[in-house]
């Protein structure tokens, strides 16, 4: 018996292979986009975790000497006073035609070093070899292989536990390779300290403890990035589910006669339901598996860009390679199952309530009444209200996203209501009976199409919103780069002595030299970089002040006031008129706030003379050089030759700008790709909905046809209907998209990056996008229209003869 029922159920898919393909692609698309985003997130998080374990970044405080590297005797003083600290030596090492980041840590006291554990457990390497000469280097596989081929280095051990782009070693080995073996870059304060150790300012007042609070930036910044991606993933998932919903509804609708027959033959409803559930779950698994493969491919294609983004934007180390993790597979399949179940819940509910020998309704079976459209709209308004409440009550990224979600979902729920009123308005303009019928027919079709149109609305709004944000950001960023990078050439000297020589040399070979001198200090237990500037037209004319005012620069160069960056202003709620106190006790009024994109830490600007008042040695190794742009290349060459400077010590402005823009563009490649994919999925949803409706439309079209409207006209009207609905939806998506852009720029960005961006509007882009949406709807309507064109008149006649 069961076999026969199964055969009957399955015969439907055999007769409708396109429908089966649609259903599977719906599930696969939803799963693919969701799991691609998940794969990217998981991979990136695994990368941070390994970096955090290695470096204890974000969890342990550091002690530095603001005047430069620490000495062994300073380390000894700390240790003899009882402070439990681990010494770290960092540096760049020139090997094999490139330079590598060498991270030397005191392996004897550093808290967690998975690389060494792995090496000793898996590869049988005695850690003692890492401690004594010549030592060992630990690096990721590709880098390790390159280093292994390099003569003159200690043995290299490949380990996945080492952060990307870093070579880990013992501090002794690092000292031997980098020179100045007694030099220490900083020390890490271990978490367990003995009772009663003396405070730092008693034993080594020249040292500064840098708290990781607030500097644990990587975590919060990257979290926001991943939250962004996750939101995108969910959006795509939801859009994919619209397809599943549409197809399952269609399949159930078309199988109604079969179900009726089976029940009439005595199949219990329960058996039928159970078998249909099993069928759907099998389809969900198949679709889910296809989606996982697809997702893996998408993630693999996007990950290098994501990795570049994270490295460029936050300095977070992420590998470009993807690993398949069981959690990811499980969550992908789980989402496919849950999503399919959710999308077909309504169909099952209807099935359960199906009278034994029901007759088909005159309207689309998934139709809502006018009352339910109004109820949906009320629910939508409620969601929008909840989003607003979330932002009013809470703050932070989550509240921002709650606002976004509330607006998007709420607007989607209001869409049928709005469209139906717009169609009413349209109906009033109708001059002929035919056009009146067209408007009325569209309204009648609205319930069946509304889910697909909601998908289109979401996709369009996301496109407009994200597109506006990215383009606004890009405009602002370009403008800011032009303002900020005014010097034609930037030079970094090895040390102060060389710095002085270079400054003298540049005095003869350039128009002006702008020393870039900075101290790392602490403000409200977060690190702050304080720059000292000389009075120069470059700053007065170009510096990107958010709060321009008369005499700002006079006050700063006169030592009366300080400038702070936007991140610090927003984080600490400090604005012109407030004051900033820097350790030990120098207080300055804030003269202005400047934008400082791409930098997570606080920054401030004083006159160079004021910087000297802190009594700390200020390194003098970096310079901005003003000179005619045609002389840049020659001067850079001469400079490199005269002082034997490595290539990365000299950066010309054009190069720097190009590199910054490259990082910027890569940052948003991912968002762009997800945008297009979402729109594609929405187009597909419209297509499936139109197909679904098609079957149910014959009874409604037949009378019109009988009244003398040709099939060609009907097909044309069919296309027109699809286009009008898409155009109306696009029109409604515009304000929603702008609203989304505003939330992204003014709420999400401030939380995620610490800066707010001015919003620019791009009507041409919207027009293009609208055209794209209309085109999508047109293409989606083509197949149903073609079918209508070819439907045998006998089929239309049958409508009057008997039931379908």
């Amino acid at each position: 018996m069961t076999g026969a029922i199964l055969q009957a159920i399955w015969s439907h898919w055999r007769r409708h292979p396109l429908q089966l393909a649609t259903l599977l692609s719906g599930i696969a698309l939803a799963t693919a986009l969701w799991s691609a985003v998940q794969a990217i997130n998981t991979e990136a998080r695994a990368n941070y975790a390994s970096a955090t374990q290695q470096l204890a970044a974000g969890s342990l405080d550091r002690i530095i000497d603001p005047s430069g590297p620490m000495t062994l005797s300073q380390y000894r003083i700390l240790r003899r006073a009882g402070w439990q600290v681990a010494a770290v030596r960092e540096g760049r090492l020139a090997v094999a035609g490139g330079r590598i980041n060498l991270l030397g840590v005191d392996l004897l006291s550093y808290p967690t070093l998975p690389a060494i554990a792995e090496a000793s457990q898996v590869q049988g390497i005695a850690p003692v070899d890492a401690l004594s000469a010549p030592g060992r280097l630990f690096a990721r596989a590709p880098l390790a292989e390159r280093l292994q081929a390099t003569a003159g280095l200690p043995p290299v051990i490949a380990s996945d536990q080492v952060p990307v782009g870093t070579v880990l070693t013992d501090i002794g080995t690092a000292g031997a390779l980098l020179g100045e073996p007694e030099q220490i870059s900083h020390v890490v304060v271990l978490s367990k300290q003995p009772k009663g150790i003396p405070p730092l300012d008693q034993i080594a007042p020249e040292l500064r403890r840098i708290s990781t609070q607030g500097d644990g930036g990587i975590a919060s910044l990257t979290d926001s990035f991943h939250l962004n991606l996750t939101a995108f993933g969910l959006l795509s998932f939801a859009v994919g589910l619209f397809i599943v919903h549409g197809t399952v509804g269609l399949a159930f609708e078309q199988r109604r006669p079969m179900i009726r027959t089976l029940r009439a033959l005595g199949t219990p409803m329960r058996t039928l339901r159970r078998l249909l559930v099993v069928e759907l779950m099998i389809l969900a698994l198949i679709g889910g598996l296809v989606g996982l493969v697809l997702g893996l491919y998408i993630a693999g294609a996007l990950l290098p860009d994501v990795a570049a983004t994270l490295r460029g934007l936050y300095g977070a180390p992420v590998d470009g390679a993807l690993t398949i993790r069981p959690v990811w597979v499980a969550s992908g399949l789980g989402m496919a199952l849950i999503g399919t179940a959710a999308a077909s819940g309504q169909a099952f509910w209807k099935l359960a309530r199906l009278p034994l020998l029901s007759t088909p309704g005159a309207r689309a079976w998934s139709g809502q009444t006018q009352g339910s459209v109004a109820r949906l709209a009320v629910a939508g308004l409620g969601l929008i209200g909840l989003g607003v409440i979330a932002v009013l009550l809470g703050d932070g990224l989550i509240a921002g996203f709650a606002l976004l979600a509330g607006f998007l979902m709420g607007a989607a729920l209001c869409l049928p209501f709005l469209l139906s009123h717009l169609l009413n308005l349209g109906g009033r303009t109708a001059g002929t009976a035919l056009s009146e019928w067209v408007w009325a027919d569209m309204k009648a079709q609205l319930p069946g199409l509304s889910l697909a149109l909601m998908a289109l609305l979401l996709a369009m709004a996301a496109n407009i919103g994200v597109g506006t944000m990215v383009s606004s950001f890009r405009l602002t960023f370009t403008g800011w780069l032009d303002q900020r990078l005014t010097a034609e050439l930037y030079v970094t000297a090895r040390d102060d002595a060389q710095g002085a020589e270079i400054e003298r040399w540049l005095g003869r070979h350039s128009d002006r030299v702008l020393p870039i001198r900075a101290l790392e200090m602490e403000h409200e237990s977060a690190p702050i970089f304080v720059y000292g500037v000389v009075d120069d037209q470059t700053y007065r004319q170009h510096w990107p002040l958010l709060t321009p005012a008369e005499g700002v620069w006079d006050r700063v160069v006169g030592g009366e006031a300080i400038l702070i960056n936007e991140q610090m202003a927003r984080r600490n709620n400090l604005w012109p008129g407030d004051t900033v106190t820097l350790p030990p006790d120098l207080t300055y009024p804030i003269a202005g706030v400047y934008s400082d994109y791409g930098n997570p830490t606080a920054q401030a600007i004083l006159s160079v003379d004021e910087l000297a008042r802190f009594g700390l040695p200020v390194p003098n190794t970096r310079f901005g050089v003003r000179l005619p742009s045609d002389k840049v290349a020659t001067v850079a060459q001469e400079l490199a030759a005269s002082f034997d400077l490595p290539p990365d010590a000299l950066i010309d402005q054009a190069n720097l700008k190009a590199r910054s823009m490259e990082i910027f563009d890569k940052t948003f490649v991912v968002t762009g790709a997800l945008n297009i994919l979402t729109l594609g999925v929405a187009g597909f949803a419209i297509f499936t909905s139109l197909l679904t409706l098609w079957t149910q439309r014959l009874p409604q079209l037949a009378p019109v046809w009988a009244m003398g409207i040709t099939r060609r006209q009907l097909a044309g009207l069919e296309l027109l209907r699809s286009v009008i609905l898409a155009a109306l939806t696009t029109a409604l998506a515009l304000p929603l998209g702008l609203m989304l852009a505003w939330v992204l720029l003014a709420v999400i960005n401030v939380e995620a990056f610490g800066w707010r961006l001015p919003m620019f509007v791009f009507p041409v882009e919207w027009a293009k996008l609208g055209a794209l949406a209309v085109l999508t709807a047109l293409v989606a309507g083509l197949l149903p229209a073609r079918r209508l064109l070819q439907v045998p008149p006998s089929d239309l006649l049958k409508v009057f003869a008997h039931e379908r």
């Binding site: 003899r80 006291s109 000793s120 850690p127 401690l131 013992d170």
Partner: protein
């Protein structure tokens, strides 16, 4: 992974895992390292300082103390030197490593901590005269070996004690040449068993002035255990009569090796050969998550010793990188007194 792993792996890379006085590498072969020789006389004060050509060495102080509250306390202060290679060098890459252990034990509580450092950067070391042994802020310093100040601190305790010697140094075995197995493995070993102590313990309940007696062991070697020896039980006992006993029992796979030194009240020492002392566990305890004997019967017939030894706090487990049990004990039976017990190889 921390240094624990480094040293454990180091330990495992070597044959014959063992831990006399809780330290690793004792069963290792002595390739390249100096080996103790019978007949080499100890030379003071130089021998108070380090012997870098030997693989392993320690400065080991235990003290039985009484607080002004009338209760018993025990403290431990130990500095181990372990050489990866038999030479010294300056800087981070010195092959000489230092490890410190410190503990305070009361009847209810046991606090301990450990420190690691390399030689060659001044973070830890020992100089013979004036005497100074230190690792981080832990130190044992004095104008000479008879007058020492002892300090250590952990996250829950600190102590600061003054030690004054009341008797001569005691050389164990054959004038300081102490045999550790039937196969002839040996170490250089001497003690100062009679320091009078006064000072303060700072515990979570507040400071506690204390007085009592301390015992200092000095030992260095390159391979003092034979490969099949899996652990040891070591006793340092001070009787109310003024007599003292050092006795140890090395547990092999098949047999036991026992040895010791009887110290008269005037510091006169007489060695006790293999098989003369019998020590038998009478009570086992699981308070520390493993079976550890915390009460013993000990007999030394030639000195009419028949005593019962009981731990002051059975939970005196040193959960350090190299874990072992070390704590103060009470002595009853034919003789009354106090002392320290160390047991390795039970984890």
């Amino acid at each position: 992974m921390n240094v624990r792993m480094i040293l454990l792996v180091l330990l495992m890379a070597l044959p014959g895992v063992a831990g006399a006085q809780g330290f690793a590498g004792l069963g290792a072969t002595a390739d390249g390292f100096a080996v103790p020789k019978r007949g080499n006389l100890l030379n003071f004060p130089d021998d108070h300082g380090p012997h870098p050509s030997f693989r392993i060495e320690w400065w080991y102080v235990t003290a039985n103390l009484t607080g002004t509250d009338g209760r018993d306390y025990g403290i431990q202060w130990t500095l181990f030197r372990s050489a990866l290679r038999p030479f010294e060098s300056d800087g981070w890459q010195s092959p000489q490593l230092w490890m410190g252990h410190a503990a305070v034990t009361s009847p209810e509580a046991h606090f301990f901590d450990e420190r690691f450092a390399r030689d060659g950067i001044g973070q830890a070391g020992v100089t013979a005269h004036p005497f100074e042994a230190w690792i981080d802020d832990w130190q044992m310093v004095g104008p000479d070996f008879d007058h020492l100040n002892l300090r250590a601190s952990g996250s829950e305790f600190t102590y600061d004690l003054d030690l004054v010697a009341t008797g001569p140094l005691v050389a164990h075995g054959d004038r300081g040449y102490s045999v550790k197995s039937a196969a002839g493995q040996a170490s250089y070993y001497y003690s100062q068993p009679a320091y009078q102590v006064s000072g303060t313990l700072d515990l979570p309940n507040g400071p506690m002035p204390v007085t009592g007696w301390a015992w200092l062991d000095r030992e260095w070697s390159s391979q003092p255990l034979s490969e099949d020896q899996t652990g040891w039980d070591w006793f340092s006992l001070t009787f109310d009569s003024g007599e003292r006993l050092m006795a140890f029992r090395l547990r092999g796979e098949t047999d036991l090796f026992t040895s010791g030194t009887w110290i008269a009240p005037d510091g006169q020492a007489s060695p006790i050969g293999n098989g003369h002392v019998t020590a038998t566990p009478t009570k086992w305890d699981e308070a520390t998550g493993r079976q550890v004997p915390i009460a013993w019967d000990l007999q030394l017939p030639e000195k009419s010793i028949d005593i019962r030894i009981e731990a002051l706090n059975p939970a005196a487990w040193m959960g350090t990188t190299f874990a072992y049990w070390e704590g103060p004990v009470q002595v009853s039976g034919s003789h009354q007194g106090k002392g320290y017990l160390e047991m390795t190889g039970y984890d």
